[in-house]
Amino acid sequence: MAAVLANPIARRLLRIPPSYFVFLVLLATLWIARPNMLNLNVMGIFIRQIVPLGILVLGQLVVMRVKSIDLSGGGIILLINYFISSGSFPGASLPFFVGLALATGLVIGLFNGFMVGSRRVSAVIVTLAVSIILVGLVQFLSSGNPPGDVPKLFNDLYNTKFLSVPTPVLFWILLTAAVSLLLSQTVFGRYVASVGENAEAAHFSGVPVQRTVILAHTLAGLIAAIAALVQTGSIAVGSVRVGLDLPILAVAATILGGVVFGRGDGGVWGPFFGALCFALLFVVMTVLGIDEPGKLIAQGVIILGAAIFYGVRVRAP
């Protein structure tokens, strides 16, 4: 094993994010099982469905680059969905809802960042606790029943197409490119990379570690709010269950994309393909007739497999 890992070619291969391999394997599986599904229209619909996940991944990626994690996305999505669908703001316009959503995400993200960065509480605990508090509150406010309808404009926007590509997909790609630029071209991006590499060394080099972590969490909260808006547009109704499994999937897609707590060779596009993998995975599993429990098992196996892949790579000489 060790000899194989020391081989230069094997080491080069291990640096490629697993998501690319998995994506190719899934594509091949689908091609063998249902060749007729591989056209732009069908694929566009499937990919459009996972845009909320894809957007959430962008936030997850930033926090995981600073060795943190954000599992509060489910709560944020549920809360924003409740705001929009419950009718608590009658006659409110689209800009108002977008502003409200972004403000909600900002506040929750800032809180997460403060707890993780300043209070130094374990990020898993903080974000999970925040999530269950939000979920509990939303379910209480709506007494366990789906709240109501979403203004029609949301779904109309979601269904538009631009040059035969669904707008949400285009939006996702643009947002990914923006995050990619943010991480590669700005000072903040450099800070994120250095904090993830070695927080102590970063601190002694004059990097504001605490501020970077807080900002990363705030950004993740904002991005989760955007994901919530897209998710709300996609289901077009209020729900008390929507998006609860998204944070875990986002973690899985990010790890699959080669970004594991700190060091990330996957950049932003590795996790992008990680999210695409889940789009294909759900299609393949539906085609093969595997239902809910099988999907749970597949999620777990993928997270564990990708993390082991990474762990082996770290230990390679």
Partner: protein, 320 residues
């Protein structure tokens, strides 16, 4: 005398963590419930309370073992659900009960191996096994149903000399855990490894000849086995297999452990603190039920407690 009392209440200069304060909180809540409601201070309600608290106490002790070495086991809840599902498989008890523990130990082994051999972060490793085990549980039993063996039901619901069996379960489990943590070489090693990890010297214990890898793997196996005991107890209480019975148990156990003064960064904590923490949680649930608080709000309050308790702990490491 006053000094040691102060130390207990502040949790300073101690390896046991802050457990005096939660005990006070528990006493205050009980007193308040006794005054406020007529039903609380009856023998029936108190025995009921013990039975309600028992699964959490058992599972939290397992979580404590893992937390002491600076880890976290998020698969506890699904192991509990899985245990009830396996017990309701309609096979003879002599087969099912050993099978439950073998399977739980195997899940713990996977966790431990992934963490020690493959460098996977404990949270990621146990998160993925949580999903895998949950999926298998849903395949075994999509909705709650089936019947568990008679002997399991009998072991939970009977009483001896007017004292219900759950009380004996508690005594046995706590004594066993006491022996494990405070009366064995293994317990000493747990504190040694955790203390090293908490202070940033991850190889400290290894340098003194304590095999950290083997002990860490064993800790996860023990945690899963305690979760399985909790699962057997719960299966006896609900008489059937239920894929959702362990839902949120992983967070409840972490809350109970942290509430009992155990530091999540490892090395500092105590068995009595954890038991008290679990009792406080049960008392709160009992009180909120008596006060007719909505279950959704109860979940939110539990999350708030977790946030508050863990937020008050200080540690060096940032992030995960």
């Amino acid at each position: 005398m006053y000094r040691s009392l102060f130390n207990i209440l502040s949790g300073r200069h101690t390896r046991q963590g802050l457990w005096g304060l939660p005990l006070l909180v528990a006493l205050v809540i009980s007193l308040w419930l006794t005054v406020q409601t007529t039903e609380f201070a009856t023998a029936e309600n108190l025995f009921n309370l013990v039975a309600q608290a028992m699964p959490l106490i058992i599972a939290a002790i397992g979580q404590l073992v893992v937390v002491l070495i600076g880890g976290l086991d998020l698969s506890v809840g699904s192991v509990i659900s899985f245990t009830t599902a396996v017990l309701a498989l309609d096979q003879p008890a002599i087969l099912l009960i050993p099978a439950v523990f073998v399977l739980a130990a195997f899940i713990g082994l996977i966790n431990g191996l992934a963490i020690t051999r493959f460098n996977v972060h404990p949270i990621i490793a146990t998160l993925s096994t949580q999903y895998i085990v949950l999926g298998i549980t849903r395949i075994l039993r999509p909705v709650s149903g089936g019947t568990v063996p008679e002997i399991v039901i009998g072991a939970v619901s009977g009483s001896f000399l007017g004292i219900p069996y759950p009380v004996f379960w508690g005594i046995v489990v706590i004594l066993a855990a006491w022996k494990l943590l405070y009366g064995s070489r293994y317990g000493l090693h747990l504190f040694a490894i955790g203390g090293g990890i908490a202070s940033g010297a991850e190889s400290a214990a290894r340098n003194f000849g304590v095999s950290d890898r083997r002990n860490i793997i064993l800790a996860y196996v023990i945690c899963s086995c305690f979760a399985a005991v909790a699962g057997v107890f719960l299966a006896g209480r609900i008489v059937s297999g239920d894929p959702n019975v362990g839902l949120l148990f992983e967070l409840d156990t972490v809350t109970a452990v942290a509430l009992g003064g155990t530091q999540l960064s490892g090395g500092i904590g105590s068995l009595h603190g954890t038991v008290i923490g679990a009792l406080v949680m049960a008392l709160l649930a009992n009180g909120m039920n008596l006060a007719n608080v909505s279950p959704f709000v109860q979940t939110a309050i539990k999350g708030g407690i977790l946030l508050a308790v863990v937020g008050l702990q200080s540690r060096k490491k940032m992030g995960l």
